[in-house]
């Protein structure tokens, strides 16, 4: 336990000091940390899920407070909470069904194969039913729900049948099972987060066509993989990279793109409007996607979105599912932004004579926001690891990933 606590403290410290940057890296670290929290959490016999949820929530609150601007942390914590709730639900229903069955079959070991099939089916049905009571069925759950929920009870009951000799043993195994299943689910989440680039990049070929001109701003690994995936499929196209002042991460992206053999042009951020008429599509990576379909991205993105709208150029946002945030943006310019040091804009020494000498004259003020907010009406398409979506559909997608209970932590 102290081991986990020190890990949490260390990660909180990193988040606080802004030592860790980028939503994917943060998301990954968070989910790995939560996995060890879950695996070290001792679970009581009664109400195991609640204990796990409380533990995760406690850690999650610390993490979110450490850097409220990094929304990925909150997203991942909520995802993990959602996983716990889902597993708990499917397990209890499976157990109820399984107990009935055990009474009927009277310790019949040979009946195992039958035992797997029946409770699994019933669990899936009950789980699906329970889920549909939690929230109205969405397109996603209708299409993908059945196979997904079928796999979960299968793994759980396979662990169960070997130890289902007596009821007490069954109870302890249930405890372990829940934890085991949750960790399994968290592992899937880790895979999902680390695999989201490939998932998104796979769709590149459908969106980028021959001889197109693509504009991007700032640097995003998702965008890089996306463009390169199209390139690998023998599409030839040109990329304009807006440099993304003041951090100039666009320069790094341009370097990478050229190294991978793409035709790349670097432009200043202020040239975006001038260039937009030649551009066929704007592709950017998001920092976070809000529940209303609004996007938080690197500073300057709103300007590019407005330019794209003016010239009716599709504005496409790439976002892994860990970037989908169940919150609505209230006052996004201030509350969800971070003002960084002005030294990124100008040299302190050079301007030190303008910075209040105590002479009482006005002093120079510098504002250096990190993020920009793009309202949903400027976004044409979201590409996530599950496919392309309309901004107005985002809230449904988000409802799939999070439980309503966890929105406020």
């Amino acid at each position: 336990m102290p081991d986990v606590q020190s890990m949490v403290a260390e990660f909180v410290n990193k988040l606080r000091k802004r030592k860790i940057e980028g939503s994917q890296a943060t998301a990954k670290c968070t989910v790995e940390l939560l996995r060890s929290v879950i695996s070290h959490q001792r679970v009581p016999h009664a109400n195991q899920a609640a204990a796990l949820i409380d533990a995760v929530k406690a850690v999650g609150q610390q993490l979110v407070a450490a850097n409220p601007v990094e929304l990925a942390v909150g997203n991942v914590v909520r995802r993990v909470l959602h996983i716990i709730r889902e597993e708990d639900l499917s397990l209890t229903t499976a157990a109820m069904a399984g107990l009935d069955l055990l009474d009927a079959s009277d310790d019949d070991d040979i009946d195992n194969c039958k035992g797997i099939g029946y409770p699994a089916m019933s669990a899936a049905v009950v789980a699906a039913a329970a889920r549909s009571t939690l929230r109205p069925p969405s397109l996603q759950t209708l299409l993908e729900g059945t196979p997904e929920s079928a796999t979960v009870p299968y793994t759980s009951s396979s662990g169960a049948d070997s130890e289902s000799k007596s009821k007490s043993a069954d109870k302890s195994s249930l405890t372990r099972k829940l934890k085991h299943d949750v960790i399994e689910g968290v592992n899937q989440l880790i895979q999902e987060i680390s695999g989201c680039h490939e998932q998104i990049a796979e769709q590149a070929i459908e969106h980028i066509h021959q001889n197109e001109v693509i504009l991007t701003l700032g640097s995003s690994r998702t965008v890089l993989e996306f463009l390169c995936a199209a390139k690998e499929k023998k599409r030839s196209f040109r990329v304009f990279v807006a440099e993304g002042a003041p951090r100039y991460q666009g320069h790094l992206l341009a370097k990478e793109l050229v190294a991978r053999g793409l035709q790349t042009t670097v432009i200043t951020d202020s040239a975006v409007f001038a260039m937009i008429s030649r551009v066929n599509m704007v592709i950017i990576g998001a920092h976070a996607v809000m529940a209303n379909g609004g996007v938080i991205g690197p500073v300057g993105v709103n300007m590019a979105a407005l330019a794209a709208k003016k010239h009716a150029v599709p504005f496409v946002v790439l976002a892994g599912s860990h970037k989908l945030c169940p919150l609505y943006p209230h006052n996004p310019e201030v509350l969800l932004n971070e003002l960084r040091s002005p030294s990124e804009l100008l040299d302190f020494g050079e301007f030190s004579d303008c910075l209040d000498f105590g002479a009482g004259s006005g002093s120079l003020q510098v504002v250096n926001p990190t993020f920009d907010y793009v309202p949903p009406n400027l976004v044409s398409l979201f590409i996530t690891d599950t496919g392309g979506h309309n901004p107005s559909y985002m809230y449904r997608l988000i409802a799939d990933y999070y439980s309503a209970d966890d929105l406020v932590m």
């Binding site: 606080r16 040091s341 302190f348 020494g349 030190s352 000498f357 105590g358």
Partner: protein, 728 residues
């Protein structure tokens, strides 16, 4: 190899090797400024615990050190050490996973030098400092990365044993009017070798110093192909030091101030040959809070986020983060603010603070738990915690410490500092630049600012015990219902009070300075050179030469005393040489000056010895010269130095023509015989003198025959040489 390894032994060796390659990054943090600039506030609380934008200064320093990868910090506590240790124990620093904080207590230290000497003594017992360390004071606010810099220092040290320190500097233009940096310190002149970044000269411009002129040693220009002289640099007081620094402090017990004594001492001292290097930082921030003006400036820089991530809306040290709103207003979530109150740009308002109707707050920092009445104006001020301000007060550019009460209608004029728990009476106007405390001003005010208030901790206790009585009887200095003493400003400092205060420099002062500069410009038409330019005017050099002459006179006196004592007590030549060397270093003299002074004192001794005739005097002189020629010989190794001796002698003869005058040739001959002087020196002197006025040639003429003889001798020798060559 494998056969020889025996389990643990081999492992230990490899561990040691690893340890050597990865030294723990250590830092010494001086939690005491060893200055009195923050009085009277520092009488009751150590400076490092004073809040800057509602967080104690030491937290900024520790958070930065931790962020920069320092693993172990030694916090050196002196004044109010108990408070500092208590604070650290309560804070999260003691239990920090990545940073080990250790406190070292010493009440005797009255300067940074003492502190480091104490560290050195501890060092011999515990050897805590294992390698290079970072030396900072606890009032540093910075976000610069250190790991690379330490690496750079280590590599330089590996190449050059003598590179013992790397000093961090940052460009910051100083005001052209007041010659004062943004931080309120004096303008800094440094000379750096642009290639190696070695520090060659360091000078803090004193106000009375002739403005804009800087005096460089000529030898600097000789030994370095290029020298960069800057006046737009700010010393960040962040040093990467090698362990030698500690031992240097131990060896030189008179080093007190890190810059004035240590850095200058190392630069002047060419015996050990230690070098100091500089490192300029560009994008990151570093500043030290040295006085009230820098308190103001650094606060503003923090609010303007130059110190990111050490800004009020980020929880960097266990502080409760504030919410940042538009226009750079930081506000705690539970602030109770009246609708009619106007909180302007760049303000900070802490937890649990109440702001009444019609208040105007601009450019100010207000701490936790304050209550502010209605129609109060607060501008450019720093209000700490739990302050009560009643209705209708006006506070401009002031610092108000914890627990102060300001009664209705009171006015604080610019530059006021109120120490803890002071009460300002109803409608009382606190005059500008006054410092108010519940404690009386120490009567034995040390004019020397180096002296720290270390001893005053006990005094403070005395004061506090007798405080209640004093308050009853004599507390009307701040109005009938007020409590506190207005400190008197010491005479000399009165003019400079405005320079170091939180208040902006008043218009009339600025106008005065501008006027003064304009006048000066019409007088000598010289303009203050900007950075990188060297002033080549002859007059500036001449004016600078005056000082060395005075110095030389003192030096001569000292040497004379030393030699006299040496003769009387019959001290060994070696020891006398050592002593004179010491004098030479402290007066920054050339070896030729030593030769002149030594010879002067020897001759003076001879003259002063009772004698009746010229021949007796000659005998005296001869015996002294014979006896002490080794001493003289030590300094007259070069021709130049020998010429200096002859000139000095000539000068003396001119001063006392009756006694020494007739003996000039004889003594010169004697010196030649005793190998103190070489013939080249005498001949060169003769050549130089040949062109002089008739009056100056008296002694040249006197020894004409001797010189003639010398010339012939040397010619003969030359001929001999030639003959020999021909023979070959």
């Amino acid at each position: 190899m494998g056969a020889q390894k025996k389990g643990g032994g081999g492992a230990r060796v490899s561990e040691d090797a690893e340890e050597q390659s990865h030294q723990r990054l250590q830092a010494i943090l001086l939690a005491d400024s060893f200055a009195t600039k923050f009085r009277p506030v520092t009488l009751e609380r150590p400076k490092v615990l004073l809040p800057i934008v509602n967080v104690p200064m030491i937290d900024y320093t520790l958070a930065w050190l931790e962020y920069a990868g320092i693993e172990e910090v030694f916090v050196f506590c002196c004044a109010h050490s108990i408070q500092i240790i208590e604070y650290l124990e309560k804070s999260e620093w003691y239990s920090h996973p990545n940073l080990v904080v250790r406190t070292i207590e010493s009440h005797k230290s009255i300067s940074a030098g003492d502190a480091l000497r104490y560290m050195y003594e501890q060092q011999t017992e515990t050897s805590q400092i294992q390698g290079d360390f970072v030396l900072v004071s606890g009032d540093t606010v910075s976000n610069m990365p250190l790991a690379d810099l330490i690496q750079e220092h280590r590599e330089r040290k590996k190449k050059d044993e003598k590179a013992i320190m790397t000093m961090v500097i940052k460009q910051s233009k100083s005001s052209s009017l007041t010659h004062q940096s943004r931080l309120g310190t004096d303008q800094l002149f440094i000379a750096v070798d642009p290639l190696t970044k070695q520090l060659l000269h360091y000078e803090e411009d004193k106000i009375d110093h002739p403005r804009g002129s800087v005096c460089l040693d000529k030898s600097l220009l000789e030994s370095n192909p290029s020298v960069l002289v800057c006046n737009d640099m700010q010393d960040c007081y962040i040093d990467i030091c090698s362990p030698e620094v500690l031992s240097l402090f131990e060896d030189n017990f008179d080093y007190q101030h890190l810059r004035r004594h240590f850095v200058k001492g190392v630069l002047v001292d060419d015996i050990m040959g230690y070098k100091i290097f500089t490192h300029e930082i560009h994008s990151s921030y570093a500043a030290r809070i040295d006085n009230f003006r820098s308190y103001d400036t650094v606060s503003k820089d923090i609010i303007q986020r130059w110190t990111f991530p050490y800004v009020p809306d980020i929880n960097f040290s266990g502080n409760r983060p504030l919410k940042l709103g538009r226009q750079g207003i930081y506000r705690a979530c539970d602030v109770i603010q009246s609708r009619s109150a106007d909180v302007g740009a760049s303000s900070v308002i802490g937890y649990g603070t109440k702001i009444g109707d019609g208040d105007k707050i601009l450019n100010s920092v207000i701490g936790n738990g304050c209550s502010i009445g209605s129609n109060v104006v607060i501008e450019g001020s720093y209000i700490w915690n739990n302050v009560t301000i009643e209705d209708g007060c006006e506070i401009r550019n002031a610092i108000v410490s914890d627990g102060v009460k300001i009664r209705a209608g009171a006015v604080l004029q610019p530059g006021v500092v109120l120490s803890f728990n002071v009460v300002v009476g109803r409608d009382f106007v606190v005059p500008a630049y006054s410092k108010v405390s519940l404690l009386q001003q120490p009567t034995t005010e040390d004019s020397d600012e180096e002296l720290e208030y270390a001893d005053s901790s006990s005094r403070t206790a005395d004061h506090l015990s007798g405080l209640n009585l004093q308050m009853e009887s004599k507390a009307s200095e701040l109005g009938p219902d007020g409590a506190g003493y207005i400190w008197e400003v010491c005479e000399g400092a009165h003019d400079e009070e405005w320079k170091h205060s939180v208040a902006p420099i008043p218009e009339d002062k600025l106008a005065e300075i501008t006027q003064a500069i304009d006048d000066d410009d019409t007088d000598d038409e010289s303009v203050v050179p900007t950075s990188g330019e060297l002033k080549s005017d002859a007059d500036s050099i001449n004016t600078d030469m005056n000082d060395p002459n005075d110095d030389y006179y003192d030096f001569e006196k000292e040497v004379e005393g030393t030699v006299l004592r040496a003769v009387e007590e019959n001290i060994k030549v070696d020891l006398v040489t050592l002593e004179i060397n010491g004098l030479r270093l402290s007066y920054n003299m050339e070896s030729a000056d030593c030769a002149g002074a030594t010879f002067y004192s020897m001759m003076k001794l001879a003259v002063d010895t009772p004698h009746n005739s010229a021949s007796e005097l000659y005998k005296n002189a001869a015996s002294i010269i014979t006896k002490w020629k080794e001493l003289l010989g030590f300094y007259v190794k070069k021709i130049d130095e020998q010429i200096e001796v002859i000139m000095k002698f000539e000068e003396m003869c001119q001063e006392s023509p009756k006694e020494l005058g007739p003996l000039f040739t004889q003594i010169l001959h004697l010196l030649y015989d005793k190998d103190v002087l070489q013939e080249d020196a005498i001949l060169r002197w003769a050549e130089e003198k040949a062109g002089a006025d008739e009056a100056d040639k008296v002694y040249l003429k006197q020894c004409e025959t001797f010189i003639q003889w010398l010339k012939e001798a040397s010619e003969e020798e030359d001929e001999d040489d030639e003959d020999e060559e021909e023979d070959d």
